[in-house]
Symmetry: C2
Subunit: 342 residues, 2 copies
DNA sequence: TCGTTGTCATCAATCGATTGCAATATACCC
DNA sequence: GGGTATATTGCAATCGATTGATGACAACGA
């Protein structure tokens, strides 16, 4: 294990003061003879000098590091978001500190504090979807000494930059599309009990029905957590209805549903049409491919970074910015067009 | 945005010196009257004082932060590893700085430097599987001023703690099992060209064949990258052979293979037996479930943290520690037992 | 009254960088 | 030689915490 080389050591070896070395290595405008400049750079390189960011952060009051808190890094969507965001940050010379909380507001709070004391210049928060007690978290976020951007979801009623896809619109688009394809009995499988996003998607679903005068039938609305087994369980009841189509409000929910369909020997879209939300890696396998709402994590990352960037540059307005992105319905082959006669 | 509160401010408000405040808040053994102790703690709490880790790291020369570099956080296996490792670190009061490199040695190097200058106390490296030019990286790793643990894979010939599953053994176990089930013509689909782990799995496959006197037939060995489309492409040729079983050396490779099988209307294990490596989330869908080698990322994380922990405590030996874990073959239903007559 | 002991708290250096201001040296002009 | 530019470089404070060494003060015994 090699020792770390410090500015002072370089200075000593060159025979100049630490100040001069610092000035030269940071390309600060200053009058140091060309000769010594060369010398300093050479010695620094030879000794593999790397400035200590810790020390630098302390005096500069910025670390060029950002933080990200996601509920669960093992979920494909968040992993992808984290990946995109990291790449984007790196492009601008920021490192991204990725952390995964487990989804409880307490853990979120703990991580947030960790990030702040570790000197990140800003945080991206993917928090607030679960209905846990988040008073302490809201409190903390609203008193943060650094900029924060809430991504994909938000703590309701908190003044803070937000970037997210329109979940209500997503639910609406799916349902509207199914209606246009001639479906009238449309079931949905959503996580409305424990998730804000789920609740919004459900609202969109209902709006679409209402809009065309179709009844909102509680017997067609089913509840499922965002896990495959949960959806699998719930699916039996869904398939016992007379629905001709199902709106699965997340990729995992769709997977659970498909598993059940497969077991029952039902075919898509022949026996029943399915629309999913977010594409899972597994989707490549299905024949036909799943029609689904797509929320590109890369787009989310791009906008989130944009907001952050503005704040960091001090260009953010006093009021919080809210970016709402429209999701896209990607039509593939899992929806049957019902003709009038059917 | 609230201001950050410093030790000095607290001290001022209490009317004592910063030293005293520091001493008390860190529960250092010192003689400060019970009365003042109470006061200090109360004022600190009231002001939401949180010590600045940056400043603390500088003088303490430790940050209680560890770093992790994975090739691609969007891959399920790495995401899961990152998740487990983070949880484990947190249990011991360490934060984990997760970064994702993209897999090139250059990026790995860049990230490694970033982590080091940002003062992490140690790094977990999941690097070195791709055959890129890694001289600079080896150089850097071998001169690191902090402990490093290579996880899941390694830069060959580098003296450094290592924790990984035995990939050769995995390939061997799969093949051995297939042989025991009566298979004689066993194809394999591996990433041997660009991956060390793939190469090892192939070696295990060949060892098993050799051991029982079966021929190693180059016409049964197929190459695929670790991506679904790549495996999908390669699968056609695999299925054109007379193999009764296929060893798919990664989850993505298995998915690509399955897609092709599905399209060709072939059934598992009736038409052909399949063994996979690592379970993918998508596996739940298949009927029958896939027999596969399982490498629990949690176990990997646990051991990796163990090594790190020892080093950090100064209890590591001078020589590098090497932990080789035996993978498990989880038998499900994708392999047909061939009877003698077949 | 002096010395001793014990209690409680502070001083000042340190970590490794950054940076405004001051200082030195050399050249140039009258 | 005195005065002024100009070119180079160094000093010392600073960021916010930690910590070994040291100081102040009271009580007590001789």
């Amino acid at each position: 294990m090699a020792n770390k080389v410090t500015l002072k050591q370089i200075a000593q070896e060159v025979g100049l003061s630490p100040s001069s070395v610092s000035l030269v290595l940071n390309n600060r405008p200053c009058r140091i003879s060309e000769e010594n400049r060369k010398l300093i750079k050479e010695v620094a390189a030879r000794n593999h000098y790397v400035p200590n960011q810790i020390a630098r952060s302390l005096v500069m009051r910025e670390s060029r590091t950002l933080g990200l808190i996601v509920p669960n890094i093992e979920s494909r969507f968040f992993a992808s978001l984290a990946g995109s965001l990291e790449k984007r940050c790196r492009e601008d010379g920021y490192a991204l500190f990725i952390t995964s909380s487990g989804g409880s507001a307490d853990d979120d709070l703990e991580l947030l504090r960790q990030l702040v004391t570790r000197g990140v210049d800003g945080v991206f928060l993917v928090v607030g979807d679960e209905f846990s007690d988040d008073r302490a978290l809201r409190e903390e976020v609203s008193h943060l000494p650094i900029p924060a951007v809430m991504v994909d979801r938000a703590i309701e009623g908190l003044e803070c930059d937000k970037v997210m896809f329109d979940h209500e619109m997503g639910g609406y688009m799916v349902t509207r599309y199914l209606i246009e394809q001639g479906h009238r009995r449309i079931a949905c499988l959503v996580n409305a009990r424990r998730s804000n996003t789920g609740r919004k998607r459900l609202a969109g679903y209902e709006r679409a029905l209402r809009e065309v005068g179709l009844p909102i039938d509680a017997r067609l609305e089913f509840e499922s957590e965002y896990y495959i087994p949960s959806a699998y369980e719930a699916s039996e009841a869904v398939l016992a209805t007379d629905a001709t189509a199902v709106f699965a409000s997340s990729d995992n929910i769709a997977l659970g549903l498909l598993k059940r369909l497969h077991e029952m020997g039902k075919s898509i879209p022949g026996d029943i049409s399915v629309v999913s939300y977010d594409n899972s890696a597994a989707d490549v396998l299905f024949e036909p491919a799943l029609t689904a709402i797509e929320q590109d994590p890369g787009v989310l990352a791009e906008h989130a970074f944009g907001c952050m960037s503005k704040r960091l540059a001090g260009r953010g307005g006093r009021r919080a910015e809210e970016v709402v992105l429209e999701p896209a319905l990607i039509v593939k082959g899992s929806v049957l067009e019902l003709t009038e006669c059917s």
